[in-house]
């Protein structure tokens, strides 16, 4: 473990070779590619399928592909999917249950496909999101077995960001635009007069070992500096930012805020934000029986805290109002997640902003809550002072 990690430079041929080596080793390589007007994550047969020459223009409630003259592959921002679609799939069978004619019951864990994944082009915010889901689904006393198995074998190739989107705010969440841990390889794409190339750093033994099999040249200091500069420049061009306050306490102190009524009047409670969020992990269960009635299956599928059934208890939902459901979502993301799993539940990827049909913006909501709380505290102080004055003799 003590030897220095490899840093190298790949050209497009090298990137292609990387994909081929991974595939030759039996890995399913998942990466971004253009489909139906969006950058989606899909099984890649070659690096050619990456979105070379495509960028994205995003805003609250808006997403659109734009061609790029520079031919860059990783100049787009996060799309509607995240890696949880592969590690924590939308729907998965949990068990098979059988009942014999004399009423004996047997339940067996469902056999699972065990794909060996390589993820190519994981954004730094999404790397953090994977680490968060690791803690939620495989870091506690009980582990989600399917998740653990898929995750344990996955090879992660990060792509640092040099073109942040207008809804990105990873800097204020401390998760990007550079990748510092949790990857096997990290790429920084550079397109300039020197050419189109990828600075690559290994982050694990597996990364070192794989890189050795791919044609590359050692990273010269100029390319290293250019990669660093490009990421640093991105840091200065974040589309959005969270208010620079302790969000955990802000949300904890805002449970009765008026702002919840304001956002509830706009929110459709569609749950899009929870589906696109790379850390949202909630699931519900489904029972399926076959026609004979002797075989039953338990499935789990993604659920959303915006769904009325989510909090159903004794004949009704605990969280009936839109206000309480939006509050649950935001408070969980930014505050109670710490108590539950030791970190924030938001990585600043901006997906929930981009994919909200009415353009609700998590950073704007947090700012409004902050303003409301600050105003409340000011009033409180003044009243306190007045109170003291009046009581002076």
């Amino acid at each position: 473990m003590s030897e220095r990690r490899t840093t190298a430079v790949l050209d497009r041929t090298g990137l292609d070779a990387l994909v081929q080596v991974l595939r030759a080793r039996g890995r399913t390589v998942i990466g971004p590619t253009v489909r139906d007007g969006a950058v989606v994550l899909a099984d890649l047969a070659t690096a050619e399928e990456l979105p070379f020459g495509w960028g994205t223009e995003v805003e609250a409630g808006r997403y659109r592909l734009v061609p790029r003259a520079d031919g860059a592959a990783f100049a787009h921002t996060t799309g509607p999917q995240s890696w949880k679609a592969f590690l924590h799939p939308e729907r998965e069978k949990v068990w098979d249950a059988d009942r014999t004619a004399d009423g004996r019951l047997s339940v067996a864990e469902a056999p699972r496909a065990r794909p060996s994944y390589a993820f190519l082009g994981v954004r730094p915010c999404d790397l953090r999101a994977v680490a968060i889901q690791d803690r939620v689904l495989a870091g506690g006393r009980y582990q989600d077995r399917g998740y653990r198995e898929r995750r344990a074998g996955a090879f992660l190739i990060a792509a640092e960001c040099t073109e942040p989107g207008a809804t990105c705010f990873c800097v204020s969440m401390g998760s990007g635009p550079g990748a510092d841990a949790g990857f096997d390889l990290a790429l920084t794409e550079l397109v300039d007069e020197t050419g189109h190339r990828f600075h690559v750093r290994a982050g694990s033994d597996a990364g070192d070992e794989l890189l050795a099999e791919v044609p590359h040249r050692p990273a010269e200091p100029e390319t290293q500096a250019a990669a660093r500069d490009a990421v640093d420049a991105a840091r200065e061009r974040m589309g959005r930012a969270m208010p620079p306050v302790d969000l955990r306490t802000l949300l904890g102190d805002s449970l009765e805020a008026d702002r919840w009524d304001d956002v509830a009047a706009r929110c459709l409670t569609c749950g899009n934000c929870t589906m696109v969020c790379p850390t949202c992990f909630c699931t519900t269960t489904e029972e399926i029986t076959d026609l004979t009635g002797d075989h039953a299956e338990r499935w789990q599928r993604w659920d959303s805290c915006f769904d009325l059934d989510f909090s159903y208890l004794h004949g009704g939902p605990v969280r009936a109002s839109a206000r309480s459901r939006y509050r649950q979502w935001l408070t969980h993301k930014l505050s109670t997640w710490y108590e539950q799993f030791g970190s924030s539940g938001c990585v600043g990827c901006g997906r929930c902003i981009t994919w909200c049909p009415v353009g609700i913006d998590i950073t704007e909501e947090a700012s409004a809550l902050h303003d409301e709380l600050a105003a409340r505290l000011r009033r409180h102080d003044q009243e306190g002072e007045n109170g003291r004055k009046e009581s002076e003799p």
């Binding site: 689904l137 006393r141 909630c282 519900t284 269960t285 909090s311 109670t336």
Partner: protein, 272 residues
């Protein structure tokens, strides 16, 4: 076994009220779940219908008793079970009442309605170790005499003047009612305990829990010595489905029993 249910056989079904039965379960094969402590719960699976969390109301050597009220599809299916039929069982899950932390103290057990079910094994454990604890009080409330669980036992305890020192109250009495009338907190006046050296165990509807805990704090109990058992929707019981969140608490993992010091803030916000 916590991932996949083990087959358990129904050995006995005992009606408790019009909509509530106690079901005794024993392992159908050689495999059994790990031992439960009072206050913990199991996920009970009705074949092809679904799974719900149910607390244990009696802990035998290999047998478990669950008292279940028919309120939804799964609980209705479980209430309709007959001896010999099989269900699936996962567990044990959750924090228990932690009776061991109350050694040397007076015990105040307060139940509302079906909330008595998870408290019953706690009373049994306390009775089984009479020298470990101070005075044992059991205060039970129900809407009507017909809603009372374990009525025969409660009546016998009440008549015997303890232990446990038992008192029962209903909101709406019917002819022949042998207990008191009123809400369960009114029974505190007849209980024997030294507030500064008492641990309380409370389970029932949330309004009852709030009222009882507030009254106990008012009478001088330390909030962390008031242990309450809470309920939320639950799908997995292993901390992954997100349904049982109550603020920062995951009730399947951090509960269902938590201290009032933690519960008070959570229960004071509407629609939390």
């Amino acid at each position: 076994m916590t991932d996949v249910p083990l087959p358990y056989r129904v050995t006995r079904v005992r009606p408790e009220t019009a909509d509530t039965v106690s079901v005794t379960l024993a392992p159908a094969g050689a495999a059994a779940v790990a031992p439960f402590v009072p206050g913990q719960f199991a996920m009970v699976y009705a074949f092809g219908v679904g799974e719900i969390p149910v607390s244990v109301s009696r802990i035998g050597h290999r047998e478990l008793v669950h008292t279940i009220r028919a309120v939804g599809a799964v609980s209705a299916a479980l209430c309709a079970l007959r001896p010999g039929e099989q269900v699936g069982l996962r567990g044990p899950f959750g924090t228990g009442w932690s009776l061991g932390r109350a050694i040397g103290q007076d015990l105040l057990v307060m139940a509302g309605g079906i909330g008595l079910a998870p408290l019953r094994p706690l009373v049994a454990a306390a009775l089984a170790a009479p020298h470990a604890y101070g005075r044992l009080n059991l205060l039970v409330g129900a809407r009507t005499p017909d809603d009372l669980l374990y009525a025969g036992r409660l009546r016998a305890w009440t008549a015997a003047h303890g232990p446990p020192r038992c008192a029962v109250a209903v909101d709406r009495p019917s002819p022949g009612w042998w207990g008191r009338v009123g809400v369960v907190t009114t029974l505190l006046n007849g209980a024997r305990f030294t507030p500064r050296n008492t641990t309380a165990f409370v389970c029932g509807p949330e309004v009852m829990i709030r009222a009882a805990a507030r009254e106990l704090v008012h009478r001088g109990l330390a909030p962390h010595r008031i242990r309450v058992s809470l309920e939320r929707n639950m799908r997995c019981a292993t901390g992954h489905c997100g349904h049982c969140q109550l603020g920062g608490v995951l009730l399947c993992r951090d509960g269902p029993v938590i201290g009032w010091n933690r519960a008070e803030g959570l229960l004071s916000v509407r629609e939390m």
